[in-house]
Each structure stands twice: as structure tokens, then as C-alpha cells.
Amino acid sequence: MINVSKKCIGCNKCVPVCPFAAIQLIEKKAVINEACTLCGACVQVCPVTAIEITREEAAARDLSGYRGVWVFVELMEGSDKAGSPRKIRPVVFELLSAGRRLADELGEELSAVLLTDKNPGFEKELGAYGADKVYLVENPELHEYNTDIFATAIIALTHKHKPSAMLYGATIMGRDLAPRVASCLYTGLTADCTALAIKDGLLLQSRPAFGGNIMADILSPGSRPQMATVRPNVMKLAEPIYGKVAVTVREEIKIDKNLRRVKVLERNLERGNGGVKLEDARIIVSGGRGMKTREKFKVLEELSRLLGGVVGASRAAVDLGLKEKAHQVGQSGTTVSPKLYLSFGISGAVQHIVGMKASDVIVAVNKDPNAPIFSVAKYGVVGDAHEIAPKLIEALKKSKA
């Protein structure tokens, strides 16, 4: 239900903002017609909070019309506004791979939601990774990410097509966008899921809880779409089937310039994480609390250089100041999936393990034979990291010579 109260001063701010031309000014009052989708764009700009959307009670909601799994297609930001077409962020393909499985189990469609200023044929790639359909909104205002504009568009699309579930990458963009959408739709959102499944027709979302020390299964039984974010490198990537092109469904959504309340003045894409590229690393040499001091940690940097790897660190090591936050692997750092993960002095708190367990080969060195890290490692070495690391460097140099 949407209502305009007596507080309305007829300022006309809401009229141009409505993506569906559902508001008219009649006798200096905003009047809302049937075209309204309850997207909330008008509520956002009303200076006197005269417009209110009241949500139906969860228990009373009719969920029968909701079908299909949606994946939000995140595009990488370009550094210049009029640049070449942007690329799809790899996590999207991981989400499609997982979404395909869920959609098949439900016997429903998998759709990708693509908001962009220009589409160079993304439906081919999206189809190859499993999308049946692409809902495409093409509009010059979508040349870069903006919270309000993207949220409004997604809210409008979900009102129209009623998906049962929707997945977002737990990237900075996804974590900015999804809660905004969930808040407006009064729907459940589960962050950083490490596993997704279907249980009795519902989306079963598993995630680490309590600082990553324990796991929780979450359901959103009374609301739709059931929304979840998933970290990059968590879901297994399916083999793409090239030639399977998703069907494009064009959607027209009017986007008023006034919705762009946050303006980007400058964007810098190089120096963000101090040049640390953990996400795409092939080899990661990582240290934990057991490395003890910043000085002693440096041996791992040398080892990493020798192997052509990237240095990682546990949360404990970062908290102790042994390594910068940019190197942190884990639930509250970066999730990684290198070919080789070589850890020294990391005991393996759940919050760390969920961030690296997707690595192909894990070799762990720790003094404590009962350290939890050995439960995910392929090879475990019981011993002192401070003694073993220098010997390994020596042996590596010798074998190279």
C-alpha cells in the first residue's frame, strides 16, 4: 500500500522521479495511479516524508506467484566514463553456475539481470554459464554503478516478474546494493553464503556466523525474493557451454537524473588494495599468529617471491600488525582459490578456513598437530614455521640452481 498524506506540499519532486509515470500532480497534491510498483523512488526524494509505503504482514503475503532464480550481473567499473564496454565480473559466472543447479532443482528458469548503458552481447557469455534469460535494461544513466538508480531498477523488475530467489556477488557493489533492495522489499537477505541448496522448495543458505566460528543455515520462508550474497571464489565454476545464448528480454525503465544523489567525482582503480592481488593469485604463501613478529613474517615474503606467489595473512596476524589488512585471507578479508595455498603458523579459525578452503592444494605448517587447519589441508607438516621456512627457501634456491 502506498499513501500520500496531508503533508504533501505539491513540490513536484516525486513526479519526474517515478520510473513508471505513476504520479500526477492534481490540485497541488501528488496522486498515485495503478502504474505504481511500490519501488519507493518517490519516497526517497519527498522532502516532507508525505509518501509512505506500508508493507503487508509477512504471514499474510501471497508467495505463490514467485518463480525463478535471478542473478545480478555485476560489471567492472571502467576508469573513464565514455570508455570501452565493461567486462562482467567473474563472480557472476560462479553465481550462474550455482544458480543453474538451484533452478534445475526447482524446475524453474535461471535469469540474469543486466543493467548497463550498452550491451555488447553479454547474453552469449551469460547463456554459456547457464542463464536461460537476460533481463536487460539499457540506459545511458547506467554507465556506472549508483546505489539508488540500481536499487530502484531491480526493485521495479522484481515487482514485475516476481523471482523466487536472487543472488548477488558479495563484492563491495553487491554488499552495497542487496541490503538496499532487501530493505525496500521487506525480504530476507543472507550475506556471504558459502553454500546454497533447495530444501522443501526454499533456498537454504549456509554461512559462517559469530565471527566465523560456527556455521548457520538460514531460511527466508515468508518473503520473496529470497536474497543471498556469495563471495567470489566460493562457488564452483561450471564448464561453459558456448553457443547456448540466453534469451534477451528488454525492459524499459525511466531513470530520472534526480535519483543520482551520490555523485562520483574521481575514480582510481590501480592503488586500491595496495597492489595486492590475492583473488587471482595462483600461489599464496600465508602466515598467521605463529609468525610472531613483523620481522619474522618477512621470511614468508621471500619465499613467496621465490615461488612467484602472493603473500596472505590470517585475521590474527593482521590484528597483531604482522601484515597489512590488504593481505588478509578469510571471511573478513579476501576469499581465495589458488592452485597452491602454503600456510605457516595458521591454526585455522573457521573464519580463515572459509576464505581459503577452495584452494586446489593446501599445504599447512603448524606446531600443533591438532590445529584445525590440518582438517582442510591436503598435506600437513608438524613443525616450527620459523625453522622450516628458511630451510625451504634454501632448498628451493638449490633446486633452481
Binding site: 526524494v45 538496499r180 608438524v382
Partner: protein, 263 residues
Amino acid sequence: MHIAVCVKQVPDTTEVKINPETGTLIRTGVPSIINPYDHFALQTAMGLKKLHGCRVTVISMGPPQARSVVQMGMALGADDGVLLSDMAFAGSDTWATSYALAKAVKKLGKVDLILAGMQAIDGDTAQTGPGMAQQLGIPQVSFCEKIDLDGRKLIARRLIDGGYEIVEVKVPALFTMIMPRDYVPVYPAFLETHASLKKPYYVWSAADIGAEPRYLGLKGSPTQVARIYPPQQREKAAMTGGSAQEAAEKILEIMRKEHFIAE
């Protein structure tokens, strides 16, 4: 300029241990702290207050003992504090929490700027801040590390995937804060804490903020916890030990076998 800073009392999750036999959390003896990101949000507000003379209100939601984090905010320089405390809030997920906090901010009257940590270290969701902004109908800038005030405009440096942006937004707006690398947390001195006890402190119930009970607590939360369980134990690793030299040789052998270095 009126700034509201949202803070949460959290268990120090780095201190949590797991009982290896039962796989359950050992909660006893885990200290409660202010969520570190919220601490930085508080300090950011204090920086703005120093430069521009803003009024700062600290808000928290939690059980009565969460008063300590509100009091800490006041000791650090906030002018007043509010704790939302009511059994009706118990079991709230991020949706219900952001609903209640937004209602409390509305009750405060004209708030220009809302600051919060990007996420709490016990839940790690980063959802409550943006949820509040939506409920209040104001823009959000998440994952910020620096905010400057220029008249009624705010200029912020925020993280994006693979870099950062400088953005501009007019008040009212909500910001969630990350911790920059050079950040040093400041803790109040005893005298400041003592003096802060005289500052206005309010405990508000669900009725006080005009929150509808059906949107609060477990009942009002769209997400439900179906099950809590210890993390999955996997097959044990192939273990090896011996002297440091032997261990190093062994790792080298593994790397050869797995083709990370030439044979």
C-alpha cells in the same frame, strides 16, 4: 549539523574458542567490546565535531549492558546517548534492526548525517547501515574511510572493487566506515568516562520510537536461523613431521609432485 553514530556491542570474536570435543562455541569469558568499525565511525564524528561544531548522538540497540558502548561514545565526546532496549527487539535480523534504528533516528528529529561501521565483527553482514538508509529514504555511501564536510555537502573517499572513489553527496546521508590503515583507536580516559555519566542518556522502548511490533524481533525478521552447527570436519591431511630440514625437503617434494616447481 546533527550527527548520529550507530554503535554495537559485540563479543570479541577473536577471543572465541571452540570446544574440540563437542564442536560448540565456548562463550564464557569472551569479553564484550565496541564493534571496531563503529569505534572508527565515532572517531570520524568527533573529528567532524572538532572542525565544524556538530552535535553528536550515539545510538545503540541491545540488552541493558550495551549501555557501556553508548557511554564510551559519550566519553569520547558525543553530546548524548540513546540505547534501544526492549524484549520486543530480541532476535531481530538485519532488516528488523535497521527498521528499529531508523525509527529511533526519526525520533531524534533533524539528523543530517548518520555514521556506522561497515559491519559488525560478530555478524559480518554489512546490511544494517544500507537498510537504515533505505528506511529513512536517504542516500548511503558505504565502505568509506574518510569524510569531509563542505557546507551542506559531504566529500568521501570510499572503497570500490579494485580501487577507490571520491564521491559527493548532500546531507542528509548515511555513511558506513571501514578502518583506514593508519587508524589508531582512541579510548577515553577515566575522567572523561566519569564526566560522561552526567550527559543525557536515554533508554527507549519499541513504543517510545513508535515501532510496529510486527516488524520487530524474530517475528518481524524475514530471515530465520534454521540450524547452527560446527563447521564440517574433512578428511585429515597426509601428515608429516621430522626435523626442519626433512620438513622442508618434504614440502619441496610435494611441490614437485603437484607440479608447482619443475621436477
